[in-house]
Amino acid sequence: MRTVLGLVGVTVLFALAGQGVLLAIGLTKLRVRSLLASAGLAYLAGAAATLLLGILFLTLGGELSLPAFVLLALFLCGAGAALEFRRHRPGEAARPSAATRNERIVVGVALALLAALLVVGLIAAGVRPLSEWDGWSIWTRKAVVLTSSGLDEQVFAGLPYAFAHQEYPILLPLFESVYFRGMGGVDGQAIHAALWILLVASLGSLAYLGSRFSRIWVWLPVVLALALGTTFSGQLMTAYADVPMALIAVPGVLCLGLWLRELDWRYLALGGLLLGATANVKNEGLLVTVAVFVAAALVLAAGRAWRLLIPLALGFLGVLVAVAPWRLWASGHDLKSNLPIGKGLDPSFLIDRSDRIVPSFKALYPMLESGGLAYVVPLAIVLVLLALATRGLRREAAFYLLAGLGTLASVIWAFMITSDSLAYQISTSASRVIMGVTAVSVAALLHLGGLLDNDRECEVAPG
């Protein structure tokens, strides 16, 4: 009973904290319908905000205890609600719905089927024991330690635990440890349910963000792809960090794309928060984050939108602030990485390792066209090409194209410079490291799909 209460309680608190964030920046309203609709996005925003602050507490020698987490979540919720209450902004007009009864029935059944599948998935996740090696030995191990003793240096920086990739960022272990504290102790089965809730929240966030600029026939298929792509759910249940990273990255990348389109600072703020969290889940998350910000900067520079580079730089500064606490702590404790970044920026070292480029690409490419990912990458490429050929959509199309290529290039770069053998790297991680490219593709599918769906408007829009 305590396990279920803890699971529900922590989930609600993450969502409450996130509603505070969304209310503060004006991306939801103090109305029951709006709050329910934005619950998924709120969960992600709340998890990002509380856990990034939690990492800061930990690195300063504190701890994210259960009372501290509850107070922090309620404070964020209350502060956001107070801000929204003072603003008294009029609500946005509801979009008209134009479905016939039969269409509503079929789509309603699809949504009910999705909900039923997600519930069955949640029940299955809740009884799954920890099994996969790195899942428990790297990620859940750190969650267990954070739950018991905080940032215990004997484990997080001790030589006997060097195998556990101590330099890896700790947002996912902290996420699990908050659930463990809520559940009253470490539960290797129930933690899979928490990861499943993260998936559901990401689906909800895509539906909510998607519904702001596209119709249901655009956002529902994309949500279905993320929900039912077997690779997503399969890898999520390994308790590795790759899919959780992607689940937070997708709405983050989408927000940055939405900012480029609408120049609404709220999207940049939320995108910065989510991408800051993404960069704290995995090193690959940092690569995705850098790639999407560089892509955004390039398309703005190409369009001579110099003034827009300033808010973008501020957004990136926010990401750097979010990344700094853990990086400084890891550096202060001399934690070694198998990715020698310094060497990786040395042209002569890169030339020496250039023979790794083609095999790396050949190993990653088949993963990207896998049916297990619901073909989101090739389908996103189709939409990017169409959008590039459409006046008024070229900036967004170029952004997603550059972000995807940049993310892929960053993974190949990591394969080039890693101290591990290429064969080992490919065999152990090729199927997982493509999650960054996949995340960019899902965001592109939703955003460009929605924009292209209004192609008549695009024809007359200014370039």
């Binding site: 079929v106 699809a110 299955a124 191990r141 215990d152 006997p160 389908l379 189709v382 169409l386 769906d453």
Partner: protein, 167 residues
């Protein structure tokens, strides 16, 4: 059922496209049609696998629910081939929250990693002078310890030992 879910996927895609065409009220252009095709493929690919996914979730839940509660905690170690029996033996011998020095040949990574996970909050330390020493794959003498350094040296199996320093 797989075929039924595939047929259902086509129905849903058709409904979405029909809905869209009604709202737009105009013949679809190439971009619009391509978007429709992309979305239709997405719906088909995902919903057609829904029955398989449903069955997979249910069978996985049944299989995992059948694992005895006593085995759940040790399942991660067993899954990677660690010597779970030895680790549980240590779990019963070592006092709570002590630190220990782990001496291994390096040949059994699975047991090493599982041991350091399962025994927490007992912490493995780098200090070879720790009060408790765990040996994996070698004896105290082979590891260079003197014959009188430890009082009891308890053996789980050859090469799997727990030694306590003399007080």
């Amino acid at each position: 059922m797989t075929m039924l879910s595939q047929a259902f996927a086509v129905l849903v895609a058709a409904a979405l496209l029909a809905w869209r065409a009604r709202v737009r009220g105009a013949p679809a252009g190439i971009r619009s049609a391509a978007v429709a095709a992309v979305l239709g493929i997405l719906v088909f690919v995902t919903l057609s696998g829904s029955w398989t996914a449903w069955q997979a979730f249910r069978s996985e839940r049944r299989a995992n629910a059948a694992i005895p509660a006593a085995d759940i905690e040790t399942h991660p170690g067993a899954a990677i081939g660690a010597n779970v029996g030895f680790v549980e033996w240590l779990n019963g011998k070592l006092p709570p929250r002590v630190s220990f020095y782990l001496r291994t040949t390096g040949a059994d990574d699975a047991t090493y990693q599982w041991l350091t996970y399962r025994l927490y909050p007992r912490v493995a330390v780098q200090d070879s002078g720790a009060h408790w020493v765990v040996f994996i794959g070698l004896t105290p003498a082979e590891a260079g310890f003197g014959p009188r350094e430890f009082s009891p040296v308890q053996q789980y199996a050859p090469g799997l030992l727990l030694a306590e320093r003399r007080k």
